[in-house]
Each structure stands twice: as structure tokens, then as C-alpha cells.
Subunit: 124 residues, 2 copies
């Protein structure tokens, strides 16, 4: 599906999402997908060897644990970029909502084996 | 300057900006700059031949006029992607704040001549 040529309301799209850690594609610019998701609880440790990962929190708080460095605690209206190659694991004690930017084809669980939390590409 | 490896609070960074239509670089992922700006009034018509342009409005409303298609009116919590090659002109009746995503080296006034509103690369 091509990028929709329209204004996207994040709250309206997020209201359609009922599950956690399953990003939906809400837009595209160049080779990047704009994804939105809700998160709650633990997400497994993983690495993206070839891309940075952008997180912008819309509601709640998202903690990004990283190997060998301090956690990034991202609140509403804040963003953080996980550098490529840094093993990380998102965590949300309570439900949060966030926007992500990832190259088309990026697998949410990273470069390892696919699992139950591996999301398929789905536009919303 | 390399991308800062820290959480960026959009409101705190935007509070440092006093001028209009002069995006500051607040982050980087891969070859994209994450820029923030305030806008008020008219911005000149211009085109980016080689890149889409992502706008996410934080406060107020930003209208993107486009040649041969309807205006995109972007409110807070909404995003819009201007497709590459589409001549466009931002407009804000009242002051607005927004986040943009553009490839490193993109000139804000587009592919034409540089002018008084052409911004230099500046991190905030």
C-alpha cells in the first residue's frame, strides 16, 4: 500500500489499537515507515544492526533499557533515538502510546529469530 | 555534531526558539534530521525533488498548501507527509509548533535559490 496522502490523527489511529507491542503503519516518508503502537509490560531484548530507531511517546512513559548504558525514560512529548547496533528492550510499567520510525522491512523483534511478538506489516 | 544520545523534550527545546520558519536540529536517525520549528504567517512556495517531507504538529495548526491539490490542515497530534516533487507552501494564521523529518542537507526553502528564510543547519 502506498502512503496515504492525508492528514493522520495519532489519537484516532491509536484508539483503533487494542493489543500491545504490535506496531501499525500509519504513514511513510521515503524508505521509512511511520508506525504507532501501544506498549505495556516487557518487550524482549533485540538489536537492529543496520538502523537507528526513533521513539516519540504520545501518552504514558516508555523505558528503553540498553545494554551497557543507562535506561532512556521517554515521557509524553519526548523522543529518543536508539543507535543502530545497540541491544535494547522496551518496557512500560503502565500502558503507553508511541510513534516509531523504522526503515520499510524492519522487524520489530530485531535481527534474531521471529517469535510470537514479531509483528507483520499492517497499515492502520 | 553527532546525534545526542539522550531523551529530547520537545516543549523544552521549542521554548528556546524565538523566530519563525527556522528549523533547528533536535535529533538524527540514519540520514534524517529531526527538526523542530515555530511557524507563523506565510512560507514561500518551494519543492523538494528528492525527498518526502514529514510534518507533525505539536501546538496550533499548520496548513500546507499544495499545487493542484487540496490544502492539508494539520492540527496538534496530527502528521502529514508532503510527497516529493509536490510544490508546497506552509501557512500558519497563528503561531504553531511542529516537528519535521528531512534528510541531512535538505534546504528548508527547497531546490530554488537561497533567500532570507533559508535556514542554516543548527542543533538545539
Amino acid at each position: 500500500m502506498a502512503a496515504p496522502d492525508k492528514v493522520v490523527n495519532l489519537a484516532a489511529k491509536l484508539a483503533l489499537i487494542e493489543d500491545h507491542w504490535s506496531p501499525r503503519i500509519a504513514g511513510q516518508l521515503n524508505d521509512l515507515h511511520v508506525k504507532i503502537a501501544k506498549g505495556q509490560g516487557d518487550f524482549p531484548w533485540h538489536t537492529h544492526a543496520d538502523t537507528d530507531e526513533f521513539f516519540l511517546v504520545i501518552r504514558g512513559a516508555l523505558t528503553v533499557r540498553m545494554r551497557d548504558r543507562a535506561d532512556a525514560v521517554i515521557g509524553p512529548g519526548e523522543f529518543f533515538v536508539v543507535p543502530r547496533g545497540v541491544e535494547h528492550a522496551p518496557l512500560a510499567a503502565e500502558e503507553c502510546e508511541f510513534l516509531m520510525l523504522e526503515p520499510v522491512g524492519t522487524v520489530n523483534t530485531g535481527d534474531g529469530e521471529r517469535g510470537a511478538l514479531t509483528a507483520e506489516d499492517e497499515w492502520i
